[in-house]
């Protein structure tokens, strides 16, 4: 207990000893003179939305493929919102929200997919 706590630089805090393995949590800030990223993100989100709409309304693919494609478009849209508008990589110290967020999308996907798989029994047995 002999050392008094002295201020660290942000860099030092991120690279603090053993937590080097958590380098991927290092935050990144972006700053612009003009909100060009936001505007591009908005245009991108509109394109993804209408793209999915026209794919479905014109029945360009067989049903299962169509559903897969529009779900992939939705995932792109989610990534776009998280990256452009929600500043997912920002934080003071490490950007700790990343780990639970990666995990939660995995769990959420598993929850929906597995529930469908498990509850299919209604068409089989009974």
């Amino acid at each position: 207990m002999s050392e008094a706590p002295k201020a660290m630089t942000a860099e030092e805090a991120y690279h603090n000893e053993n937590d080097k393995v958590l380098r991927f949590l290092e935050p990144r800030f972006h700053e612009e003179k003009f909100p060009s990223i936001q505007i591009l993100g908005y245009i991108g989100s509109l394109i993804l939305t209408f793209g999915a709409y026209f794919l479905v309304m014109n029945h360009v693919l067989p049903p299962v493929a169509l559903l897969s494609v529009i779900l992939i478009l939705a995932v792109f849209q989610a990534a776009l919102q998280l990256g452009v508008f929600m500043h997912i990589r920002e934080g003071r110290g490490l950007a700790w929200q990343l780990i639970p967020l990666y995990f939660v999308f995995f769990v959420a996907l598993g929850m929906v997919a597995m529930s469908i798989w498990i509850m299919l029994f209604k068409s089989g047995v009974s």
Partner: protein
Amino acid sequence: MSLPLAEKAGQHPLPIEFADEKESIKITGFWMFLVTDVLIFASLFSTYAVFRTSVAMGPTPDQLFRMGPVMLETILLLTSSFTIGLGVYFMRKGQVRALMGWMIVTILLGAGFVGTEIHDFVTFAQMGATWHTSAFLSAFDILVGTHGAHVTFGIFWAITLLFQLRKRGITPQTARKVYTYSLYWHFLDIVWIFIYTFVYLNGKIV
């Protein structure tokens, strides 16, 4: 780590909502709340996925959904997500009037979304398609209704934030509140995109 961060001259300054350590911890906490909320919606989506075909004597998704109002709601919500993004951009520049202006636009767009959605639900009810009708409609109503309730809550939250901003201006505390609110709002946009895709568009794939 809880050591004070030494801000070196010339080093990248932290945005105002992260300037205070305690406030930045609240942002982490809010992310964790969003994580649980993702799973609330995942559970609702699971229920919807399982009950999608349990239409009993009621209408099927294809018969029920009309894409016009849905597209309107989608555009309103996507635009509101954009406007609150601009609000945060101006907050970081310290422009409180621009921030409040974009927040008011966001609130109006959100109110338009909720209004359209309520109108849609009333139309369904007039057709006799309420959640008494079938398991499909129960699951549909609770999924879309939970999202709508979130948006409604967000509108009232934004109104209280406007009062705080008017009184206090942009401080680390109010900035943190606006930032968490913007996270919430973008998150609702993401959820809506999945509702739009997995409920409405999926209903039109026959």
